[in-house]
């Protein structure tokens, strides 16, 4: 039966006929109703709008990023578990091949673009302005817009599997498969449009953080006195600005191909599928460094804090991140050595790729030597950072093996590769965001996550991770390929696949403990803690926890690296004299970024369904938003001295009688 009214096939919009999807549809409906009902019942709508949705405060935006990222981690993780369940035994039929394809596509995209990146950007948002002694980012409203565009893109992508059909060509979305010639459903339109919207937000974040870090550092903080996380954020932002426009173009051309019948990547009429592969990885490889570099920065901070030592070889750390950033743009071909570009090309890219191991090795040794002669305190945050070292080394050495073009002919597209990049991304990014979350949680909320639960979380997750992914190396070497929804019993893959599936359950248990830890800590954790519970070294710990919205009553002055450590040691610059208090200028909240999120969501949705007229008409919403913004001369407001005096004396008084939870 076909129901077509005004050119829209109404009966095809919702995906029907599959129990898992029906269940999800019902679950989504019930959850939405629950949230709406709960907010109404608790009369929280106004609060939500005033305090969160319209906020331009970098700390709150950061927290919203993190909340969204944790939710996306849950979704992506469920996808991972579904795949592990499906391949636990040969010839299983939990998912059919089409669903498996949709699931690994969603998993890859969500984990990288909607989990790893927002998680890191969230922590960057919370921490960076504080670390450089600033009151906000350079463009607070743009920052809010960045978040809301990310959110818009993420939500669009997430509804795909219940509305209209999910993308199913892998997170790399290779052509010609992803083109209309071989994927006529609209599923892959979701990929093109929603990543475009989210990507615009990321690009703005990049610009915002470059300007923030270059222009808003407090007095005395020269470039070479910046904390390592600030350095990595700066370099990451540069990579974002250099790489994301390539993705913008690639996605736009994909959109043209799929929506308007052009021939960029098609087989017919002179298009080139290899062009897509090149453009994708020209962005895609830098992208993995966009997620790994901030993580490196966070590990640097945490390892230094809990070893009670300055970061070893600070200068060489800076040089190596710059070197990694440069090299990251010169290696993209290693993703398709097997395309037959010839020995010369492959040799060149083998060498550039292997060269990345050199600066990375330098960083490894610097971390180790930071700990040497230190006094290593085994907090949960530190445990994550410690586990990072050996696990990431495994990811790194297998990376070097994959970099060797000729050897890659045997590893390419196998589970060896899948194991490798999970050994890079999970220790490199996931361990880092967990470490960062445990570390900065008290700064964000004024209480700590439970350390004991934290250790359960840690051990389950790390063991589960290794049990899940170590077997995949061997499966790959034995001929098991990626993205295959099943395998035959004769293949002999069954035992290792089973082991891997068991591992993923342990991993999931770790994640469950993490969620429980958040719940437990929100309910029961001690609120009476110091603003500097870890005896840390950088400026974000020089102010109250949770941080007052103006960050610092008086902007701190920096005389050396690890500024706060030396402020504490020399006891200078910590106290606030009454005559130093001045009025503080702050930006006003704005509802516009959220409205733009809605507008982009609507236009994006219509484009995905190829309802061009509706899309064109609703573009008016976006234009209206831009015009409104152009004529908006709201200049913010001032915080009066009395209010500052009151806030400051409250938290400083608290400091005297806190409970110490760490030593």
């Amino acid at each position: 039966m076909e129901v077509t009214i005004v050119g829209i096939k109404w009966d095809e919009i919702l995906i029907t006929g599959d129990p898992i999807i029906l269940g999800s549809q019902i679950a989504i409906l019930l959850t939405s109703l629950g949230i709406i009902g709960g907010l109404t019942y608790l009369k929280k709508w106004k609060w939500l709008w005033r305090e969160w949705i319209t906020t331009v405060d970098h700390k709150r935006i950061g927290i919203m990023y993190i909340v969204a990222a944790v939710l996306m981690f849950f979704r992506g993780g469920m996808d991972g578990l579904m795949m592990k369940a499906q391949t636990a035994r040969p010839e299983m039929s939990i998912l059919d091949s089409q669903h498996y394809n949709e699931v690994f596509t969603a998993h890859g995209v969500i984990m990288i673009l909607f989990m790893a990146m927002p998680f890191l950007i969230g922590l960057m948002n919370v921490v960076i302005p504080l670390q450089i002694g600033a009151r906000d980012v350079a463009f607070p409203q743009l920052n809010a817009l960045s978040f809301w565009l990310f959110f818009s893109g993420a939500m669009l992508f997430n509804i795909a599997f219940v509305v209209g059909g999910a993308p199913d060509a892998g997170w790399t979305s290779y052509f010609p498969l992803a083109g209309k010639e071989f994927s006529p459903g609209i599923g892959n339109n979701y990929y093109a449009i929603s990543l475009q919207i989210a990507g615009l937000g990321t690009l703005m974040t990049g610009i915002n953080f470059i300007v923030t870090i270059l222009k808003m550092r407090t007095k005395g903080m020269t470039l070479m006195r910046m904390p390592m996380f600030t350095w990595t954020t700066l370099i990451t932002s540069v990579i974002i600005v250099a790489a994301f426009p390539i993705f913008t173009v690639a996605l736009a051309l994909m959109t043209f191909d799929r929506l308007y019948g052009t021939h960029f990547f098609t087989v017919a009429a002179g298009g080139s599928d290899m062009l897509w592969a090149n453009l994708f990885w020209l962005w895609g490889h830098p992208e993995v460094y966009i997620v790994i570099l901030p993580a490196f920065g966070m590990f640097s901070e945490i390892i230094s804090t809990f070893s009670r030592k300055q970061l070893y070889g600070y200068k060489s750390m800076v040089v190596s991140i710059v070197a990694i950033a440069v090299l990251s743009m010169l290696v993209w071909v290693h993703h398709f050595y097997t395309m037959g570009s010839g020995a010369l090309v492959n040799s060149f890219f083998s060498i550039t790729t292997m060269m990345i191991a050199v600066p990375t090795g330098v960083k490894m040794f610097n971390w180790l030597f930071t700990m040497r002669k230190g006094r290593i305190k085994m907090t949960t945050a530190m445990l994550w950072s410690l586990a990072f070292v050996p696990n990431f080394v495994i990811g790194g050495v297998t990376g070097v093996m994959l970099a060797m073009g000729a050897a890659d002919y045997q590893y390419h597209n196998t589970l060896f590769l899948v194991a490798h990049f999970h050994y890079v991304l999970i220790p490199g990014v996931v361990f880092a965001v967990f470490a960062g979350l445990y570390y900065w949680w008290p700064k964000m909320f004024g209480f700590m996550l439970n350390e004991k639960l934290g250790k359960w979380h840690f051990w389950l997750f790390v063991i589960g991770f290794n049990v899940t992914f170590m077997p995949m190396f061997f499966l790959g070497l034995n001929g098991a390929v990626r993205r295959a929804y099943t395998y035959s019993a004769e293949s002999g893959f069954a035992p290792l696949f089973m082991l891997s599936a068991v591992g993923s359950v342990i991993l999931a248990a770790g994640f469950a403990v993490f969620c429980y830890n958040i719940y437990w800590s929100i309910r029961y954790a001690d609120r009476n803690i110091s603003s500097d519970p870890w005896d840390a070294r950088t400026l974000e710990w020089a102010t109250s926890s949770p941080v007052q919205h103006y960050n610092f009553a008086k902007l701190p002055e920096v005389k050396s690296l690890d500024a706060f450590w030396y402020m504490k040691k020399n006891n200078e610059g910590i106290t606030l004299k009454d005559e130093e208090i001045e009025e503080i200028h702050m930006p006003s909240n704005s509802g516009l970024p959220f409205l733009m999120c809605v507008a982009f969501g609507i236009v994006g949705f219509f484009l995905i369904f190829e309802w061009h007229l509706l899309a064109a008409v609703s573009t008016v919403l976006i234009i209206a938003g831009l015009i409104y913004r152009s004529f908006d001369y709201n200049d913010g407001y001032h915080i009066h001295k009395d209010e500052i005096r009151k806030t400051e004396s409250t938290w400083k008084k608290m400091e005297g009688k806190v409970n110490n939870h760490v030593s």
Binding site: K9, I13, I15, S97, G165, A166, D168, Y174, F175, P176, L177, E181, F182, G185, I186, R258, L259, V267, A268, A269, Q310, Y312, G313, Y314, S316, T338, M339, A343, S347, I351, M354, V358, V362, L368, F369, M371, R375, I376, M378, A387, P390, V393, I394, V400, A406, Y409, Q410, H412, N413, I463, N466, M470, P471, F474, G479, R482, A484, T486, Y487, S663
Partner: protein
């Protein structure tokens, strides 16, 4: 304590897995191409193991020795900025390792482009490989035969596979015999393989190309020269002829079992030609979900749509195994 346990268990688990790994196909090469890659892999493994041992050792030692204990709570670590000598050391050593890996990588890369060493004298057998959704088509232009989802080759003879695709991109891989290479429409890539001995080897696609990808496998059967010649002869005498119409039917997105013909499709189309026509039909790829607009090429309108066929495809989507 726990940390030490973790390190210990990791350190013991890995070699154990390696031992069991001797059976892995990549480490059991059945021909000179796969062997040269395995040698490269082994060489890299040795160095990588060295790196792992050094870093893990250093890591275990430092973390164990400098962990906080009740006895050393009063210890305040010294201020230390770095050491130029050490920095140079741990920059230089990785560079040396990279060089040690680069040289054999580059030489192997060049070697793999050509007939394997020692086989230059023998005239290679040329086999055109056409990958389609979701089957492998092998054409022997010299012999004038075509097989689907299996390929017979003479042992100890270099075989030149000329790869192309009828549509989506695939990757041709016979791990026991050598590395893989992509097959792409309007393009031809080449791959030399040699089998040392008679035997049956698994080959497959490694580049994801839609619903039928998991089962896109084929068998490589290496035979003695006599067996091979006999097989060619038999095929030529007994196998049916492939017609163009039948060929177009084969290209539809389906799983087929093994098929054999006594002529090749190269007579009417070689998908590697730059101006060859794309003969697949997007209509055949319709599946669940909201359907978008398809942009047909004018010249392809002649392809009639056969509705019964579309239904057949939908039935075998999660699909049964190709026949072997």
């Amino acid at each position: 304590m726990k940390l030490k346990m973790l390190v210990l268990s990791l350190v013991t688990a890995v070699p154990l897995l390696f031992l069991s790994g001797c059976e892995m196909v990549v480490f059991q090469p059945q021909g000179p191409v796969a062997r040269s890659i395995m040698e490269l892999i082994n060489w890299s493994l040795m160095w990588m193991l060295l790196v792992v041992v050094v870093v893990f050792g250093l890591f275990g030692y430092i973390v164990w020795k400098y962990r906080e204990k009740p006895e050393n709570m009063g210890y305040e670590p010294p201020e230390e900025h770095g050491s130029t000598v050490l920095e140079i050391v741990w920059t230089a050593i990785p560079i040396l390792i990279v060089i040690a890996l680069t040289i054999p990588t580059v030489t192997t890369l060049y070697d793999l482009e050509d007939v394997p060493a020692g086989y230059e004298e023998k005239e290679p057998v040329v086999i055109h490989v056409t990958s389609a959704d979701w089957k492998w088509i092998f054409s022997y232009p010299e012999e004038g035969i075509e097989t689907i989802n299996y390929v017979n080759i003479p042992e100890d003879t270099p075989v030149l596979f000329k790869l192309t695709s009828a549509g989506t991109m695939q990757s041709f891989w016979v791990p026991a015999l050598g590395g893989q290479k992509y097959s792409m429409n309007k393009m031809e890539t080449e791959l030399y393989l040699v089998a040392d001995n008679p035997g049956s080897y698994m080959g497959r696609n490694t580049n994801f190309n839609g619903r039928g990808y998991a089962q896109m496998e084929f068998e490589v059967l290496s035979q003695t020269d006599e067996e091979y010649d006999a097989w060619v002869k038999e095929v030529k005498e007994t196998a049916p002829k492939l017609t163009e119409e039948k060929y177009m039917e084969l290209l539809k997105p389906t799983h087929l079992g093994r098929l054999t013909y006594s002529n090749t499709h190269l007579a009417w189309i070689n998908h590697a030609d730059h101006d060859s026509e794309l003969v697949t039909d997007p209509e055949d790829y319709r599946y669940h979900g909201y359907q978008g607009k398809i942009f047909d090429q004018e010249d392809k309108k002649s392809n009639e749509k056969d509705t019964t066929d579309v239904e057949n495809n939908e039935e075998d989507h999660g699909g049964d195994h190709s026949g072997h």
